[in-house]
Symmetry: C2
Subunit: 305 residues, 2 copies
């Protein structure tokens, strides 16, 4: 029996990324990649995704070096999902140049038997119907974080509502929270989202940090001020991955608001490292000591006592 504590379903891709300073091709990307690498600092992660026959063995090897279990990684004949984008000077706004679905177009995620009892699940950004399909293969009642995006809010609202009902935590950015609820004030957005099912709503604001809403009230987490952002791709996935990894490593009987705050702190810190290089390059040489040191640094920056 596998000891996978957290499985992550989502995209796996090969990215071309241009920033104002640099252009890089054929990078390992996708939500499973970023979230899995980030979570791996805390727990044993299982990857659920699909790649094409062109997927380099070196990328598979990189997953293994992060200690990820690849039993849920399907290889299909055809091309791996490809994305390319270009960032504006602010390193926040970006334009998608190209999206080629390849084998991702017919993706039907299958959960290996060895993952089915895992207590933590991250539903990364794929269509809500696929998220439901794979979640229905889990046994027991795992703790579920759901990530989504504007596309599904527009074109798959009914399925999205169904998967939101099954989530313990929903993470989304401020624009998506507004689009999904029709409210402007983020407190109003959160009230509506909490009424849809999740116990916890995490609104991500990028360089401005994140907000947590729950029955327990509101928590505010500023982002770590990064000296030099090299590539912001995957920051949200890193946040959610490390967040869930942190939860999975604790042996708490119940996930409460105080634990969620600490998980957000760790998610934010790992994401702040992730954007210091392209793809998972910074995470490959990141250590637990570096994470712990920056967690303390960010805590001290936020100290109001």
């Amino acid at each position: 029996m596998s000891d996978v504590k957290l499985w992550i379903v989502g995209s796996i891709g090969i990215d071309d990324v241009a920033t104002p300073n640099e252009q890089r091709c054929d990078l390992l990307g996708g939500s499973v990649t970023y979230a899995g690498a980030a979570a791996s600092f805390f727990t044993h992660v299982g990857a659920v995704g699909v790649v094409g026959s062109d997927f380099p063995e070196t990328f598979r090897e990189r997953y293994r070096r992060f200690g990820m279990d690849l039993a849920g990684l399907q290889t299909r004949s055809g091309a791996t999902f490809r994305w390319s984008g270009v960032y504006e000077d602010d390193m926040i706004n970006r334009r998608t140049l190209k999206t080629e679905l390849g084998v991702f177009a017919d993706f039907s995620p299958e959960l290996p038997d060895s993952f089915r009892d895992a207590p933590f699940v991250m539903l990364g950004n794929i269509s809500p119907s696929l998220q439901l399909h794979v979640l229905n293969q889990a046994r027991g009642r795992p703790f579920v974080v759901l990530d989504t995006m504007d596309l599904w809010i527009r074109i798959a609202r009914a399925d999205l509502d169904a998967v939101i009902r099954r989530a313990d935590v929903i993470t989304l950015n401020d624009a998506e929270a507004r689009m999904l609820t029709g409210c402007h004030n983020l407190r109003d957005c959160a009230k509506k989202l909490l009424a849809m099912g999740p116990r916890f709503v995490v609104i991500k604001k990028g360089e401005h940090g994140a907000m947590l809403f729950s029955e327990g009230g509101i928590a505010l987490l500023p982002a770590y001020p990064i000296e030099k952002v090299v590539d912001p791709t995957g920051a949200g996935d890193c946040f959610a991955g490390a967040f869930m990894g942190f939860l999975a490593q604790t042996r708490a009987a119940r996930v409460d608001e105080a634990l969620i705050r600490r998980a957000m702190l760790h998610g934010s810190v790992v994401a702040s490292f992730g954007v210091e290089a392209f793809s998972t390059e910074r995470l490959e040489r990141l250590t637990r000591d570096e994470i712990a040191a920056r967690v303390e640094e960010l805590r001290a920056m936020c100290d109001l006592s």
Copy 2:
């Protein structure tokens, strides 16, 4: 001898403000108004400004109810400064419809003798040459906070640099920090600003909070999540006013970084009340107990222990 602990120089105006929900005319406004009202919860404030012969006695009376010393308030024949603006749906971006300088065009601030020994000074948003002119009338070495705006960065850079050298704290928003330094990353902006003179740099990010930079490192303060923003006019002035009022009420031998953090917390909280109504209407019925309660609420929201 007056016991004014903090004097504030800046604009005093009559505003017309339109928000997506409401339109209001002939409101008491200006940086002295907002900053003075906010500071008055903590210390004895002196106002330095100019009004026209049309300035209503009810507005003067409102200043008095905030306990402000009006010895520095000049009345000149002519019209009071008038501003009108309209807010977009996000309640952040705004368009100025009209600016009529009136008596403000020939303003030459004179510091009453009874203010000259005050230990705290706020140089609100007027031209840097006038800020210097009035600061030169102070005796001793007061603790100075400087607020500025994009206009002076563009048209009065040399004078602005001179007044920045005299400031202990400079407060400005992120766009202004970038314009003034030519840097994009806010850490780089702060480094340049600290090298220009001030010991403390406070970068205001509106609904996203504020950042403090000093020799002591970085502090991050999220903004209080407001349930209903009615009128954001003057929020930055309220922040700076309450910030300085808080410092002025302490009897600390030296203003250190921990004290500045607490002053920012109080500045942020008073500003969060200020935007809950037009003009100073919310501040008129605000109590010290309400401020203390929201300070504790915001502290709890930011607790990462």
